[in-house]
């Protein structure tokens, strides 16, 4: 394990039992062709912590999130520089297969995107391709546990064979979370998971995120500062591709050190 206190801004939150450093990014630059989208970003993602990325649209927070599980690889013109490690291992090392990385660093997307298959098959897909289940009973067990963890089990247990696309928006998003959880990732990345949901579904997902924290480290990109304040322990504020401030959520929202952060959270920029 790496030392947890490389960055003087990232003090451990006193209120949360944070043990170790999970992911570490140092000097990350991302280019889309000639466009310098992320500039020299350093972030530490602690284990069993919710880290929120906030910032105005186009500030690079989603891009940086995708750096963490190499989803940017699928974009031809995208180029990533700098060091990103997962438990001390460089995820951009040529020896690393992004497929293996993504099994450890799962992702939930902005728009619910269940596969056009049954609810069961949606959740079972990850365990199946990674060979996590020895037999059918094992698989059913994983599916049930994942759906329970996503607080969806009671709603769908009688219709596991129904298509996942037939659920409501909030249920679909929780299904996507269950699907991501089913592969037992170590880090769960969430890219604005509530932006397509109504307040009730949002509350459910937020509750869920708080629960997931007991097992994974969660990184969430959000446009809603209230949401960041509610669910996260650490918050990073991005602006124009720069990481402006990264600190405990309480500190960011009550006593930000950078005037730009203050302007953003009080609604003067953004």
């Amino acid at each position: 394990m790496e030392g947890s206190n490389m960055n003087d801004m990232s003090q451990i939150d006193q209120g949360v039992a944070v043990d170790t450093l999970k992911m570490r990014a140092r000097g990350v630059d991302v280019y889309y062709g000639d466009n310098h989208a992320i500039k020299e970003v350093d972030v530490d993602i602690a284990d069993k912590t919710v880290t929120a990325f906030i910032g105005p649209s186009g500030c690079g927070k989603s891009t940086f999130l995708r750096v963490l599980n190499r989803m940017n690889d699928t974009i031809d013109i995208c180029r990533v520089e700098g060091d990103v490690t997962l438990e001390g291992e460089d995820i951009y090392d040529p020896k690393v297969d992004p497929v293996q990385l993504r099994a450890k660093v799962g992702m939930v997307f902005q728009k619910p995107n269940p596969f056009p298959k049954s609810i069961f098959d949606n959740v079972a897909y990850g365990p199946r391709i990674h060979g996590l289940a020895q037999n059918k009973a094992d698989l059913e067990n994983i599916v049930e546990k994942s759906l329970r963890r996503a607080a969806l089990w009671d709603e769908v247990k009688d219709r596991l064979t129904a298509p996942g696309t037939g659920l409501s928006g909030g249920q679909q998003q929780r299904l996507c979370i269950a699907r991501a959880v089913a592969t037992s990732p170590e880090v769960l990345l969430m890219d604005e998971p509530c932006s397509a949901l109504d307040p009730i579904a949002t509350a459910q997902v937020e509750e869920l995120i708080d629960e997931l924290r007991s097992r994974f480290s969660v990184v969430i990109v959000t446009h809603s500062m209230q949401q960041a304040a509610r669910v996260s322990q650490k918050t990073a504020f991005f602006h124009l591709g720069n990481l402006v401030e990264f600190d405990d959520t309480d500190t960011i929202f009550t006593n930000p050190s950078d005037p730009r952060t203050e302007s953003y959270i009080t609604g003067r920029i953004g």
Partner: protein, 451 residues
């Protein structure tokens, strides 16, 4: 009125249309009329086409037969009297003609009908195919020799045409091939029930016949040839096309080379089909020495022609799969291959199948390239997919012909009865095309999934 400044014309009633609105409404009405006119023109053209083809062609499925007892005399058909099929085969159809003509004459005499014409003229009412029919029957069962059988044989094309309304008394007077006396007799025989016009499958199953016996010409060889070619096209074009599309759409880097390939595939789809025929002639027949006019060569040429259609359709349907599905799979740690084969391809399947079947239908109706590779030949033999007649490439199949080519060659023959045959062949072709489109629709329904 309306060109007044707005400020000075404050009051405008909603009940009265102003000039601008009227103009816009008129434009819309005009556009609707244009659209309806276009649709109606199309429908009229379709109706005219179908009426003409069905009117000309439906009668091809009907055929006139004459039935009477035929005495198969032994001294003519088996002079040695030993029923040896090899020796009996030495008697050609010319040996059978007098047998059936004589029997007809005798039967008419026995029935008390005066034919009103000589034996030669009477025999000319029968089809030239009739002796061959009886000969095949006898060779299949030599025991028939010496007996009298109740056989049903084809009548000549002109007599057949008389019952279908194509030949009339007036036209018969100007026609060297048929006389009014023959038509009178034919009418008489039909009233007696000896001659009958009825539905026949032979048009579908029999091979082509020479220009002087349209009544015996069938589509059997052409249908088999077309079927073999479709098999070849399906077996080659579908996997190659889908594999190429998946590679180009999902894996290939976007650079000048792939751009060039993309442009060329689009251009290939627009290349005149006869060019593919020249290519097939040069490559498959002249260079690779495949059997001329074999279904395999035809299938290869049609495959080349169909590939761009399939590739374009497949790529379009791959592109129509929402990227969120790919991302969901990749985000779960699926490999690119897994995300494509587990999620993208099943969603693209309806489009791929539709494109493939449309490509196949296009290939089924294609004539020009087949003319160049020799498929326009007159073929009497049912082709085998694996040729037993060729010693160079036995796997390449016998020479065959294809449905559209059969239409083409029939329309070139002089006997007007072939107009009916060609139209009938077009009906068969259209039925096949309709069936393929139906399958495409059903498959699309079956595989269509919402997301």
């Amino acid at each position: 009125m309306t060109d007044m400044p707005i400020s000075t014309a404050p009051k405008r009633s909603l009940y009265a249309q102003d000039a601008r609105t009227k103009k816009r409404n008129r434009a819309e009405t005009r556009f609707r009329v244009y659209g309806m006119a276009a649709v109606i023109t199309g429908i009229i053209a379709l109706i005219v086409l179908l009426t003409s083809i069905l009117g000309n062609g439906l009668s091809a499925f009907q055929q006139t037969y004459i039935s009477y007892p035929i005495t198969l005399s032994e001294d003519r058909l088996d002079p040695e009297g030993n029923r040896d099929p090899a020796e009996m085969a030495a008697v050609t159809t010319f040996g059978y003609l007098p047998v059936i003509a004589m029997s007809l004459q005798q039967h008419l005499e026995a029935e008390g009908i005066d034919p009103g014409m000589g034996g030669r003229e009477l025999a000319a009412m029968l089809s030239e195919e009739a002796p061959a029919q009886i000969r095949a029957m006898v060779l299949a069962n030599p025991e028939l020799v010496g007996t009298t059988i109740d056989a049903e044989i084809l009548v000549g094309g002109r007599i057949d045409g008389f019952f279908k309304g194509r030949v009339t008394m007036e036209s018969a007077e100007r026609d060297r091939n048929v006389s009014p006396a023959q038509l009178v007799l034919a009418q008489q025989l039909a009233e007696l029930g000896m001659m009958e016009t009825r539905f026949n499958w032979d048009f579908i199953t029999w091979p082509d016949a020479s220009g002087s016996r349209p009544e015996a010409a069938g589509l059997g060889v052409a249908i088999i040839g077309s079927f073999y070619m479709m098999l070849v096209v399906l077996a080659l074009a579908l996997p190659i096309g889908v594999a190429a599309s998946i590679y180009l759409e999902e894996f290939a880097p976007k650079n000048r080379l792939t751009d060039l390939i993309e442009v060329n595939i689009s251009n290939l789809a627009a290349v005149p089909s006869i060019v593919f025929g020249i290519l097939g002639l040069a490559v498959f027949i002249n260079f690779m020495n495949f059997n001329q006019s074999s279904p395999l060569v035809g299938g290869l040429v049609l495959t080349l022609m169909t590939l761009p259609t399939i590739i374009i359709a497949t790529r379009a349907s791959l592109r129509a799969v929402p990227p969120s599905i790919r991302q969901a799979a990749l985000g779960l740690g699926a490999s690119k291959m897994q995300s494509i084969f587990h999620h993208v391809l099943p969603l693209a399947m309806p489009g791929i199948l539709t494109g493939t079947i449309i490509g196949l239908a296009q290939a089924l109706g294609e004539t020009a390239p087949l003319l160049l590779i020799g498929m326009v030949a007159f073929v009497r033999e049912y082709p085998d997919f694996l040729s037993t007649h060729s010693n160079t490439f036995p796997l390449m199949g016998d020479g065959a012909t294809a449905l559209p080519v059969q239409v083409y060659s029939w329309t070139q023959r002089s006997d007007p009865a072939f107009v009916e045959r060609a139209s009938g062949a077009i009906i068969v072709l259209l039925v096949f095309l309709l069936m393929m489109n139906l399958i495409a629709i059903l498959l699309r329904r079956r595989f269509e999934r919402r997301w």
